[in-house]
Subunit: 108 residues, 2 copies
Amino acid sequence: MEMDQAAKCLSELGNPTRLAVFRLLVRAGDQGLTVGGIQKHLEIPASTLSHHLSHLVWAGLILQERDGRTLHCRTQPGVMDELVGFLRDECCKGFGDMTEVSAVKTAG
Amino acid sequence: MEMDQAAKCLSELGNPTRLAVFRLLVRAGDQGLTVGGIQKHLEIPASTLSHHLSHLVWAGLILQERDGRTLHCRTQPGVMDELVGFLRDECCKGFGDMTEVSAVKTAG
DNA sequence: TTTATAATTCGATATTTCTAGAATTATAGT
DNA sequence: ACTATAATTCTAGAAATATCGAATTATAAA
């Protein structure tokens, strides 16, 4: 996963409501939940929920599939593993002493 | 890591500038970088940087240690592993079918 | 066609966040 | 005391986000 995509995901999951929605969908498993089902669980106005869901879709964190009048939502498979991978690769490992680099920049 | 703390970290890292600062500090390793060093790398105004650093400190993502006039910044050891752990535990595993739960709620 | 349901879009407001210059604080050197 | 440096705090405006009722769209059933 690229930096931009990771920042996008982190930012979207950083909102408490969206994190709750996402966790709920993770728990719902492969089948996911309908928009109405999510609404009943979290008890937030439909328009607000719809707004947050569109954010999650935009960030590639969830998928939506229409079946008649109802819209099923589920997590995008793999995206969480990719995000975790990004955090591990880019944000968990140090690369040693950077003070020289800093000094060079300062001098130049 | 608790939900609240995780949301805090995700939200703070979701800002591109702060993600860049954090990544830079990860790369800098144990020694970290001074505020001025970070500023030279990222070329952002001091007041803006200070604002973002205070966010990262508040979220527990980085530490600051004063040495005379200079302030050294480094990543908080372990916090990233905890965040990754949270994402793995809470956001990577499904818990099977939740449609019944939804149906019960609907009926009741 | 009329009615009901599921969900989104619109619109307006409230709130938060970002940015960055100016002023300030803290420390150190002369 | 004076000067310089490192960094923060103050302040204000701009930009982005969040909230949610009302109106609307889409689908289905009577």
